[in-house]
Assembly symmetry: C2
Homo-oligomer: 193 residues x 2
């Protein structure tokens, strides 16, 4: 059986035997009940939140959450312009994804691309007036959604914790470019049910 799943939903038997009774708790394989609860709670943030924000953005502003991010980031530059690769980094997207999205936004007239002369293949994306108006119109709804779904329901201490957690996750994901040793150790025997 698998793991992280859940099973407690119904309060029935506490799966994963002994794992949480280990005092030292240095059991690297499975999750104890506190960890499991945290992981399940995390799913709400990881899965439901983006879905909710996306749905709402779509409904209220006819654009994707990601499209909004792109336009928004551009709108914050002094000249409403940014190089594609920088924009990709800023929005945590692959250059490929960004290129597709920017292509669509360009077709909609919300931004324009232009090659930077004498600089390899570098390209700038610039927000148009129409694009700017669209972001400005969408912004209040976006902020409202962020507040409603997340910020406003957190106490100050949890707001602070969220900052630390985000930072930790970011660090954990970005450290280690490639660890050859781990691939081999990834598998461990599974106890039978």
């Amino acid at each position: 059986m698998a793991k992280t799943g859940d099973a407690q939903q119904r309060g029935e038997r506490p799966r994963q035997a002994g794992s949480q009774s280990r005092a030292s708790d240095v059991e690297p394989r499975w999750l104890n009940s506190d960890e499991l609860a945290a992981w399940l709670a995390n799913s709400a943030i990881m899965i439901s939140l983006p879905a909710a924000l996306d749905a709402r953005m779509q409904r209220e502003s006819q654009m994707t959450f990601f499209e909004y991010m792109v336009l928004s980031v551009l709108s914050e530059e002094p000249d409403r312009t940014m190089q594609m690769s920088a924009l990709a980094t800023r929005t945590s997207a692959s250059l490929s994804r960004l290129s597709h999205v920017v292509g669509r936004l360009e077709k909609r007239g919300l931004l324009a691309r232009s090659r930077i002369p004498g600089a390899g293949r570098r390209t700038n994306a610039t927000l148009t007036e129409a694009g700017y108006d669209v972001v400005v119109a969408a912004a209040p709804g976006h902020v409202a959604a962020v507040r409603e779904y997340l910020i406003d329901s957190l106490e100050p201490r949890d707001l602070a914790a969220l900052r630390r957690i985000g930072a930790a996750v970011d660090a954990a994901i970005h450290r280690e470019p490639a660890d050859p040793a781990r691939a081999a150790t990834a598998h461990v025997d599974v106890p039978a049910p």
Copy 2:
């Protein structure tokens, strides 16, 4: 300048005239610096974490994070079986999405569907032996990833905070009945026949 961006970093005000604040004259509050930091940190959890987990699942176990969830949930049922709609609820997915995914998993021989006789159109999904083996093989890697990217880098107090935050988000998203046009999806588990 658009929204969540920054701008008030320093408590300064949102440039951008009230083009849309007309709603009840209560201008939507912007985010102050603490809130903004929390929101940005949250992006790591909302965007980078799922991407990292998905990539790793794909690489190590040739399956999607979501596919793993489906198989995993089934594997925890006493008879490795669950009704489609219940499975959809359990995995926070639409019935449509689940149907597509289950169709693929069935084609791969990892599970099987069967109509429940005399019960409307109800359908059960059951894990096959092969499916069970696959989940068991994938589980350790999954747990390792969850630990590595999230759990292990959190102090106990943040682990607890994460639980509260997840619960808060979940509550915030699921309240709000208001909204014409869409009323489905608020759901409670379905009792077995």
